[in-house]
């Protein structure tokens, strides 16, 4: 079972703020499972049917390492859409 819920985050925030927000949301909702945007803001998806993670996801700019696993998408960082990926 999965119960994904979308939460927006304002586009003008920094990457540090975005990661703080991810940590706070994972503490309440569950693990981050998708990153993206709706054109106006960053949209993060958390699966509320999964247990809240001990180790939190971290979003980084750029493309994930070829061998690495993670979530990939385009998010806003300081107002600009950036390729990003999240790992934990």
């Amino acid at each position: 079972m999965a119960d994904p819920r979308d939460v927006g985050f304002a586009k003008d925030n920094s990457l540090d703020d975005l990661n703080l927000f991810v940590r706070q949301q994972e503490e309440l909702l569950g693990p981050l499972v998708r990153i993206g945007n709706d054109g106006n803001q960053t949209v993060l998806t958390f699966d509320m049917d999964q247990a809240r993670p001990e180790k939190h996801a971290v979003i980084q700019e750029g493309n994930p390492p070829a061998s690495g696993s993670g979530i990939k998408g385009k998010v806003f960082v300081a107002g600009q859409l950036k390729d990003a990926f999240a790992t934990r």
Partner: protein, 345 residues
């Protein structure tokens, strides 16, 4: 719009002056072309105005309840429009997500028409197609309306004296008007232009509505191009509470809007986050120990009930997360739930 202006000016002049013991709610909608040489106004396209004036209750943080809604594909030819207008209890009932229980026999007693009598005005005016007005003997029209035009106005009296306390509170009478207009053969898809306005109170009610509906497939299949309601008092309350068609105008759109909207979250201070974690842990503990009754009660207060208990838990946690952004909102939530939880967070 001149119709509305005339009606509201007449009523305002006759009744109101600068009194705050009347509540006035006005909407005016024009889709198409509207020109008036008297006011030297020309509108092309979509124009809508919504205005409420009346008493506010700053000590209570309240205002009279009003509701204005329009949903249209904005076509000048063969338009689909739904419009709804409500005040007082009718505004509350139409915007409430669930139907209330059917009234008991005692509640169906004759309305309480006693006490001081005051003038009240409730009216709507609608035109579809071409409407020309001529002034004097001039062959040229003084006003032209082409397309869809509707005005709704209510001027509802409050009690004359200042409401001293809860037992002597103002009551805002309910009125309700609705319009469902569909002159097209097939409903439009996706082209919607919602608009609404609202406030809060306790006094009289009336409701009126008109509309063309992009989603009114059933209506489009019929020969009937227009449906219109106009009601006051208990009739307005009943239509707002129990009429599926009228409730459907707003409820469907509201549900879709909620479904598609992604709410924007914010980073909260560490102490607020700790309180959010505390209440989230409490909700999870209720779920893990199968405290269904408590979870149901919390979900009901937050308006997120679900028959699936895990889904309901998730709904509650998500609602709390969305609602709490600082210590003030956390305090408010904690106080709201305390009768159920028996503790503060």
């Amino acid at each position: 719009m001149t119709h509305l202006r005339g009606l509201s000016a007449l009523a305002a002049g006759a009744l109101l002056g600068a009194c705050s013991d009347y509540a006035t709610f006005v909407t005016a909608t024009n889709i198409g072309i509207s020109a008036d040489t008297t006011t030297q106004e020309l509108n092309i396209g979509y124009t809508r105005a919504e205005l409420f004036t009346g008493p506010g209750y700053p000590a209570q943080g309240e205002a009279p309840r009003v509701f204005g809604y329009i949903n249209s594909d904005l076509r000048v030819f063969e338009p689909h429009i739904q419009q709804l207008y409500a005040t007082g209890d009718a505004a509350s009932l139409i915007s409430y997500p669930q139907k209330p229980p059917l009234p008991t026999t005692a509640e169906q007693a004759p309305p309480p028409y006693y006490g001081e009598r005051r003038p009240m005005v409730f009216g709507t005016g609608s035109t579809v197609g071409l409407n020309l007005k001529f002034a004097g003997s001039s062959p040229a029209p003084s006003a032209i309306k082409f397309g869809y035009n509707r005005e709704e106005v209510s001027i509802i009296p409050m009690q004359s004296q200042t409401p001293a306390d809860q037992n002597h509170a103002d009551r805002y009478a309910p009125v309700l008007a609705s319009m469902d207009l569909n002159l097209g053969g097939t409903p439009a898809k996706g082209d919607t232009k919602p608009s609404s306005s609202g406030g809060a109170d306790a006094s009289s009610g009336a409701a009126a509505g008109t509309g063309t509906n992009p989603g009114a497939t059933a209506l489009a299949k019929t020969d009937l191009g227009i449906t219109q309601f106009f009601a006051t008092g208990t009739a307005a309350r009943n239509l707002a509470a129990y009429d599926d068609k009228i409730r459907g105008y707003f409820q469907t759109q509201a549900k879709e809007a909620v479904k598609t909207a992604v709410l924007t979250g914010v980073v909260v201070d560490s102490d607020v986050q700790a309180r959010k974690r505390q209440i989230t842990d409490y909700i999870h503990n209720l779920f893990n120990t199968n405290k269904k009754t408590t979870l149901d009660a919390i979900a009901k207060i937050l308006g997120v009930s679900d028959t699936n208990l895990q889904k309901e838990r998730n709904n509650i946690v998500f609602a709390i997360d969305q609602r709490v952004v600082n210590n003030v909102t956390m305090d408010s939530l904690s106080a709201l739930l305390k009768p159920i939880t028996g503790t503060g967070f």
